[in-house]
């Protein structure tokens, strides 16, 4: 299996892509997954994280097959 990372809105513009597909490596949390995918870009402070479409803390471990999304504060409505 693998991990899908998705980026939305201003964060998508900042990283220059909307998704990454990564090999699963055990023991990584969401914060560490970001650094693997974006080694030269620090994760901005206010970014939200969802795993499989649920909001989670950055310290949440990523499992094989997960979809991990990073995005800025929401501005709908």
């Amino acid at each position: 299996m693998s991990i899908k990372i998705r980026y939305f809105a201003s964060l998508k513009d900042a990283v220059g892509r909307s998704e990454d597909i990564l090999e699963y490596s055990p023991g990584l949390n969401a914060q560490q997954l970001w650094q693997v995918s974006n080694p030269n870009t620090q994760l901005p402070d206010n970014i939200l994280v969802a795993i499989n479409m649920d909001y989670v803390p950055l310290s949440t471990l990523v499992e094989d097959g997960d979809e991990v999304a990073f995005f800025p504060p929401v501005t709908g409505g």
Binding site: F8, S10, N46, Y55, F71, P72, T75, G76, G77
Partner: protein, 148 residues
Amino acid sequence: MGIKICNGAFDPWAELRLHEQELQEYAGKVGATNIFIGTMRDFNAGDDVQGMTLEYYPGMTEKHLGLIMQGAHAQWQLLDTLIVHRVGDILPKDPIVLVAVWSSHRGDAFDACRYIMENLKAKAPFWKKELLRNQQTRWVSSNSNGYA
């Protein structure tokens, strides 16, 4: 209960009329309906805004709108709820969001409609990019708290 994401303009009055046709079974129990409509303004943060693009996260957006709706039904005595939200390219004066709540008593309808709107603004994955007069674009950075 209904959740609808529209990629294209929607008419709130037509949506409401349509939805009410489906709730004939308990229409005699409805004493109160509260409706909120958010429309696109032609100004924001001191600048003229000519248009807007609304991005969302298909799947997660609908899921969280559903959770917010369930949260409202758990806290108040409601007969029905509807959320319609626009995505894609929109123009000033266009409706962006419609929230409607049907209940027997008015306190429930007012409280639940506002709860849904505030939670939608805080938690539902939508993002607005504004097109300014000079053809520059900017992402809206965050929503304000509407209870304040």
